[in-house]
């Protein structure tokens, strides 16, 4: 009978061998994460690290974040604006550990955020390039700014009818509605809500569906607002989706985004008009109407001032005319002590018309003097 040892003895040897070989060593590896099971309560995360070549799996190992490294996941989600979930490619620092009950595990100590950000940025750039290349007439890049059919649509002077895409009972919905309803100028808006999930794997499709609903509703909306509350862990990816971005770029009503982030812009932001938060989008609508009202008040004031001025001018001109007419009446001339000399009822203004022996009538206020000219000399005064 061959010599046999207990399983635990064999596994002890394996453990010893592995420990001797890998003790204290760490490795940076690149892998795709799958079967991610986050246990936020006890701050652990179990997953598998996998590698593929031409679609075939070529390596697979269990990985785990222990409580002291769980903040790596939180940090990852915060910085990359991406949920730590199945299918993501990461580079991480691991330590090899073998346990005779739990088997081989890779303890994940650190995630290389720069790599993930780089990958995301690369994907983002590729989507942006594709948008411009496949829609050359409607999406153009000028000096780093994306000009789209949508963000070039003129804004109505007054905003009244708003289509709001947001998640039900979310911070974004509450903040937006509050700013609109309690606006300090007491303007009234009509807000039609198009509610949907705005985070997660299918969010881009769901938002797209809501946009189609708005388009099909035959309502003449002044603007569309897509808002999402900040503060929570935000998944940025839906807003970098090609189809959603393309739809936004071509949408017939001006779209404003307030999807609660401050690090950089999503592609949808670039295709539309971007405000950082739901509150800012709502307050922009209020301000737009406020500006219009002020212009209106200014115009009205100017109009009344101009009319008043014109009327005053007309009165003054008429009074001048009245004064001149009054002074010109023959009686007024005589009343002021002047005399009017006439020959045959024609007023004489030129002495040349008077000759020796001319018969003059001198009109005074109450009398007419008839006389004959006996001498004419120059008035030397």
């Amino acid at each position: 009978m061959t010599e046999q040892i207990k399983l635990s003895e064999l596994l002890d040897q394996i453990q010893d061998t592995i420990q001797t070989r890998f003790d204290g060593e760490v490795f940076w590896i690149e892998a795709q994460i799958m079967n991610v099971k986050k246990q936020a309560q006890n701050r652990r995360c179990y997953l598998t690290l996998e590698e593929y070549e031409n679609g075939n799996k070529t390596a697979d190992a269990r990985g785990v974040f222990w409580a002291n490294n769980y903040n790596q996941i939180e940090n990852f989600e915060k910085v990359t604006k991406q949920i730590f979930k199945d299918g993501i490619n990461i580079i991480c620092k691991v330590r090899v550990r073998y346990h005779k009950v739990y088997g081989l595990n890779l303890d994940i100590i650190q995630i290389d955020l720069a790599h993930t950000l780089g990958t995301l940025e690369l994907e983002r750039q590729q989507t942006l390039e594709r948008l411009v290349k496949e829609n050359p007439k409607t999406i153009q890049l000028f000096d780093g700014v994306y000009k789209t059919l949508n963000n070039r649509l003129p804004l109505p002077l007054v905003i009244g009818k708003i289509a709001l895409i947001t998640a039900p009972n979310s911070d974004g919905q509450r903040d937006f509605q509050q700013e609109i309803k309690l606006n300090k100028h007491q303007y009234t808006f009509s807000v039609s809500e198009f509610l949907t999930t705005i985070q997660g794997d299918n969010a881009h499709k769901l938002i797209l569906e809501q946009l189609k609903l708005i388009e099909k509703s035959n309502e003449n909306f002044d603007v569309v607002a897509i808002v999402r509350g900040g503060g929570s862990q935000t998944d940025f990816k839906p807003f970098d989706d090609y189809e959603l971005a393309k739809c936004v770029a071509h949408f017939p009503f001006p779209i404003f985004t307030g999807i609660g982030h401050d690090r950089n812009q999503s592609i949808v932001d670039l295709m539309a008009r971007e405000q950082k938060t739901p509150t800012k989008v709502a307050s922009l609508f209020v301000e737009r109407n406020f500006e219009f009202e002020n212009k209106l008040i200014e115009l009205k004031t100017n109009l009344f001032d101009l009319v008043k001025e014109q009327l005053e001018n007309a009165k003054e001109e008429l009074n001048n005319a009245k004064r001149i007419v009054k002074l010109s009446s023959p009686q007024a001339i005589l009343d002021r002590g002047f005399a009017i000399i006439t020959i045959n009822d024609k007023i004489i203004t030129d002495p040349k018309d008077i000759e020796d022996k001319s018969e003059l009538q001198t009109l005074l206020r109450n009398e007419i003097i008839f006389s004959t000219v006996i001498k004419k000399t120059k008035n030397e005064k």
Binding site: E298, A314, L318, A321, K322, V325, P330, I340, K346, I347
Partner: protein, 73 residues
């Protein structure tokens, strides 16, 4: 004198007359006529101006003028 003259037409005729009066080269009998005409035109203009003034006052009252708003008011 036609009553259906507009204010501008009446005033334009008045201005012509005033210009002639200022020149002073008018026969005495014509002077009286011109002054009379001028006074009729003045009456027309004054009447029109008064009714325009009243109409504007009504229009201004119909749309109460709000003070220009300041942000935060």
């Amino acid at each position: 004198m036609k009553n259906e003259l507009t204010y501008s037409e009446a005033f334009s005729k008045l201005e012509d007359l005033v210009e002639q009066l200022e020149d002073g080269n008018i026969q005495l009998d014509k002077l009286s006529t011109k002054v009379k005409q001028a006074n009729e035109l003045i009456a027309i203009c004054e009447s029109k101006l008064r009714s325009i003034d009243a109409e504007i006052k009504v229009a201004t009252k119909a749309t109460p003028t709000r003070q220009k708003k300041k942000n935060g008011s």
